[in-house]
């Protein structure tokens, strides 16, 4: 029973709960066990089994009284960048040691209000800065997928899950959570979704509130759902989205019914294929999956059109100026004065220096330095201001494209998941992972990654659909068609299955998990 409970989609679980096939408690117990079972992946920083059971009990109560809420009893994982009241919140950084926020982020609060059950806080790149989950103070996350023998001969090294929402992606892919929240700044939902063979949706900037989400780059950060199906993404987004007066950048727009948008009908839809989305050295199999995706959509009645986004090549450099600039300022508050880590020094400046040197990892320090540099007097115009102009041009590229087409189809990432150390320690090589995800981030557009195929060595490859501002519904509809055509059903090598757990046997095991 419980094995099969972790194999359900969110939609199936919701329906099963409604029909009382199983209880929220049973569903929670199965997932609490699964969370424990996937510990080797290091996907969670904090597990919250007791909270999960309490929330499940409340959900069961409502379900029993016919007062079910949209996500009642659905166990999910939360990226540890969302502040959760009273629960350790780390941003995967040493500098937030012991930080338990006295408040709950708007997005998670909405999810709990909708009845969702919190399994724990997932690992990530420190402050969301990374594309491999290797920058976490709590250690790297392992991708539940491994290369198949016969690809690169004998290469069965552990792979990265992508980043920064690597823990969320791994947990969802390994069946430890029905879904998870992520945040996307330059690809942090979509790229790990692609690497782990799941669905990841970055909504339009302003669709989901950033209040209570620890900031990396404020003008780019956007929470979104990470799920195993497009329908699940629609369901989760429904409860995450909406205007929040506490976030001045959140959009005062009504939220449409996303699940209802999944009509499967994309006849007449014009799909743009941006010909700049080809990286030097990009494996041919990614190009092949892309062409295959276009063909699937064509067969469903859409019309693929080659288009051009001429400023694409400037997107990555612009992103790596704007995001660090904002980060350098956003991270100034981690000064050892009010919360988190403090390393004492002989004077104030020394305390700052020692605290921040000890508290921030190498990648965070690098971006703070870059950001401080590009905002400095004398360099501001040449870097920050110019990057903002590039950003405006990127947005214009998309706006022009959307006069010809309804959405865009492109690869999510220029590669499949790689092994730790495989790409060398050149940070710029790492930044290239974000090549295809950053443009939509800079333009604030909704974009979804859907697993569309597998590489020669058996790893998932994602395709992304990018839509007009606030057209998450259209993006989800097209993604649903792609998903149906791709029929991606494969399980990763490491899943939280293989253990039969009955409710009454769980008490001992739960004490351990909760201790």
């Amino acid at each position: 029973m419980s094995d099969s409970l972790t194999q359900l989609t969110l939609a199936e679980a919701r329906d099963g709960l409604a029909r009382k096939v199983f209880s929220a408690r049973e569903l929670a117990l199965a997932h609490i066990a699964a969370v424990e079972a996937v510990r080797p992946l290091n996907a969670f920083i904090t597990e919250t089994p007791e909270r999960a059971l309490a929330m499940a009990a409340a959900a069961d109560d409502r379900l029993a009284h016919g007062q079910a809420r949209p996500l009642d009893g659905v166990p999910i994982a939360v990226k540890d960048l969302f502040c959760t009241k009273g629960v350790l919140t780390t941003a995967a950084s040493h500098i937030l040691d012991g930080f338990r926020p006295p408040y709950e982020s708007t997005v998670t609060e909405k999810l709990w209000q909708a009845g969702a059950v919190m399994l724990g806080k997932t690992n990530l790149d420190e402050f969301g800065m990374g594309s491999s989950n290797m920058t976490s103070h709590y250690g790297p996350v392992e991708n539940p997928w491994r290369r198949q023998p016969g690809g690169r001969a004998g290469d069965n090294r552990p792979l990265v899950p992508g980043g920064s929402s690597g823990g969320s992606a791994a947990a969802v892919a390994a069946r430890a959570a029905l879904a998870a929240t992520g945040t996307d700044t330059g690809g942090s939902i979509r790229q790990p979704a692609s690497f782990c063979g799941i669905v990841g949706l970055k909504p339009s900037y302003g669709r989901c509130s950033r209040w209570g989400v620890i900031a990396y780059a404020s003008s780019l950060d956007q929470p979104g759902p990470m799920t195993r199906t497009v329908r699940d993404a629609a369901i989760l987004l429904q409860s995450m989205a909406g205007h929040d007066p506490k976030d001045s950048t959140s959009a005062p727009l009504p939220v449409p019914n996303y699940e209802a948008a999944l009509s499967g009908d994309i006849r007449g839809l014009r799909i743009g294929l941006p010909h700049e989305y080809r990286a030097p050295g990009m494996p041919g199999e990614i190009e092949a999956v892309w062409q295959q995706g276009a063909e699937w959509l064509r067969r469903a009645g859409a019309e693929p059109v080659e288009i051009s986004l001429p400023h694409t090549r400037y997107a990555l450099p612009a992103y790596y100026i704007i995001a660090p600039a904002e980060a350098s300022s956003n991270l100034a508050r981690y000064d050892g004065v009010r919360f988190g880590l403090r390393v004492e020094g002989d004077n104030l400046d020394e305390m700052y220096e020692l605290t921040r040197a000890a508290g921030f990892g190498a990648e965070v320090r690098r971006r703070v330095l870059i950001g401080t540099y590009v905002l400095s007097a004398g360099y501001y115009d040449a870097y920050y201001l110019k990057a903002q102009r590039v950003r405006a041009l990127i947005a214009q590229d998309f706006a022009a494209a959307f006069t010809q087409v309804d959405c865009l189809l492109a690869p999510t990432a220029p590669s499949s998941a790689f092994a730790i150390g495989e790409t060398g320690d050149d940070p710029v090589a790492m930044y290239l992972n974000d090549l295809f995800t950053v443009p939509a981030s800079l333009a604030g557009l909704p974009a979804i990654s859907v697993p569309a195929g597998r590489s020669g060595d058996g790893l998932p490859l994602g395709l992304q659909i990018i839509g007009r501002p606030f057209d998450e519904a259209g993006v989800l509809r097209a993604a649903g068609v792609l998903e149906d055509a791709a029929q991606f059903r494969d399980l990763p090598g490491f899943v939280a299955a293989g253990r039969r757990i009955r409710d009454r046997d769980d008490s001992h095991h739960l004490r351990q998990a909760g201790s």
Partner: protein
């Protein structure tokens, strides 16, 4: 002008005033702003810059800034932008201050100074922008530790920057007083410099008359008008002496040492911060609706300059009285209430003269005046209808100040009603002249000055209640020879 050894020097001053906005809540959070609260009791997670917290602009603070801009006769920018000013300090929790750098909410305006010689002088306002206050570092609570109080962190300030149009410490003083008066009229800042709700930075340089600007020094955070004037005075002389000795002024930030009356260096340009200003990505540009601004304009109170002009032209007051009355809103309102339907000049005399003197003695503001406008008006009415003489009115007023009683009650109780019975007055005159026969003889012999003596004696004999006009009339008649010798 400063007379140096080598000739005349002109002082050039520009002032930056930080005016705390009158508002229940902070600029970007809902925390309270009450002065003098226990440390760290008025701090929200936004003010303490906790992770994930976001600023939301307080509409009321924007309204206050726009009203102030309108009161300064300034351009209102319908689009303005909030920027981050980045620097590390423990009382700046986020590591940046949200301010407005390139696009402030208010642009060019002006303040008109009333110069001592009766002329006026317009001083340009460069800009007004909104920004957050920082918290307070307390260095005196512990031998080795600094404590931080974040109650003030995030409170809304208006930074009001003048053009370098001021030419003396005295003008700077006039400017600050006029600005404070306007802010208080508008209700946008209480102007209490001793509580820190209005603070001033002064940029001071000297030059030869008509020459190009000299290098300036900025004197930071001076908290009284008098200190600002002293600091400018000192700083200008310091610069003149330096230049006349062949030295050069170094651009630097200086502090005013209140105890010694001098300025001393705080930091020089070399270790000035690089604030790395950039638009705050947590906040959208501030976009104002023109109709909303026009509505605020229409609702502005009458400001001191307009009020002064009206008091002179419509009520016939002297410029001196008008200026004294309009300097603050409460006395002006008090005066207008007293003057309504009465002789305005007489009302002004009473308010500016007797009332202000009494308040001064009591050491209280006009809000706590023991005499209400209606009572003072009633007193003036008693003079006008001849119930009491102007002379007796002074006594009645003194009694009003002491007891708070109505003038009519005092007049009744003390029997101060004026004597207008010519028979009774004539009898008093006869009695006095009979008693002072010697003086009368001297008067007759040509000592005209004794006339006043007689009047005084007659008033004394009637306990001051005799109608002075009648006394004069009858006494003159009597001395002119009509009636008994």
């Amino acid at each position: 002008m400063i007379e140096g050894r080598t000739g005349e020097w002109e002082t050039v001053i520009g002032l930056e005033v930080h005016a705390q906005i009158v508002s229940e809540a902070k600029l970007f959070s809902g925390a309270a702003t009450r002065f003098g609260a226990e440390p760290n009791t008025q701090v929200s997670p936004v003010d303490a810059a906790f992770p994930g917290m976001l600023p939301v602009i307080n509409r009321h603070c924007v309204e206050q800034a726009v009203k102030t801009g309108l009161g300064l006769d300034a351009e209102i920018n319908l689009v303005s932008v909030f920027d981050r000013k980045n620097y590390f300090y423990p009382d700046l929790p986020a590591g940046y201050q949200i301010s407005q750098y390139l696009q402030p909410v208010v642009g060019h305006g002006r303040i008109v100074l009333d110069m001592p010689d009766g002329s006026t002088r317009a001083i340009g306002i460069t800009r007004l922008h909104l920004e957050q206050d920082a918290g307070k570092s307390l260095h005196d609570q512990h031998p080795s530790l600094t404590y931080v109080d974040l109650n003030r962190a995030g409170i809304g300030l208006m930074e009001i920057v003048s053009e370098p149009d001021l030419r003396s410490a005295q003008e700077a003083g006039l400017y600050l007083r006029k600005l404070r008066s306007i802010l208080r009229y508008l209700g946008t800042c209480d102007g209490n410099m001793d509580e820190g709700s209005m603070r001033c930075d002064a940029n001071v340089s000297v030059r030869r008359p008509g020459g190009s600007f000299g290098t300036r020094c900025e004197i930071k955070n001076v908290n009284s008008v008098r200190y600002v004037m002293q600091a400018i005075e000192y700083e200008a002389r310091r610069q003149v002496e330096l230049l006349e000795e062949g030295g050069a002024v170094v651009q630097q930030t200086r502090l005013f040492d209140v105890g010694r009356g001098i300025t001393r260096p705080m930091r020089s340009k070399e270790d000035a911060h690089d604030y790395r200003y950039f638009p705050d990505p947590d906040l959208l540009p501030l976009v104002l609706d023109r109709d909303w601004v026009d509505g605020l304009r229409a609702g502005l109170p009458e400001l001191p300059d307009a009020k002064k002009a009206r008091f002179i032209s419509a009520l016939g007051l002297s410029p001196e009285d008008a200026e004294v009355l309009v300097a603050e809103q409460a006395p002006a309102l008090f005066f207008e209430e007293v003057a309504a339907g009465r002789d305005a000049k007489l009302a002004a005399n009473w308010v500016v003269g007797d009332l202000f003197a009494a308040l001064n003695r009591l050491g209280c503001g006009i809000e706590r005046s023991p005499v209400s406008p209606a009572q003072l008006g009633a007193l003036i009415d008693l003079i006008a209808d001849g119930t009491i003489s102007g002379r007796l009115a002074k006594d009645v007023f003194a009694e009003m100040v002491a007891t708070g009683a109505d003038p009519a009650t005092i007049v009744e109780q003390k029997g101060l009603r004026q004597v207008t019975d010519s028979g009774a007055i004539a009898a008093a005159i006869e009695a006095v002249l009979a008693r002072e026969a010697d003086k009368l003889a001297e008067y007759r012999a040509g000592r005209d000055k004794l006339y006043g003596f007689f009047v005084g004696q007659i008033m004394k004999a009637t306990q001051g209640k005799a109608n002075p006009t009648l006394v004069n009339e009858l006494l003159k008649e009597r001395l002119a020879g009509q009636g008994p010798a």
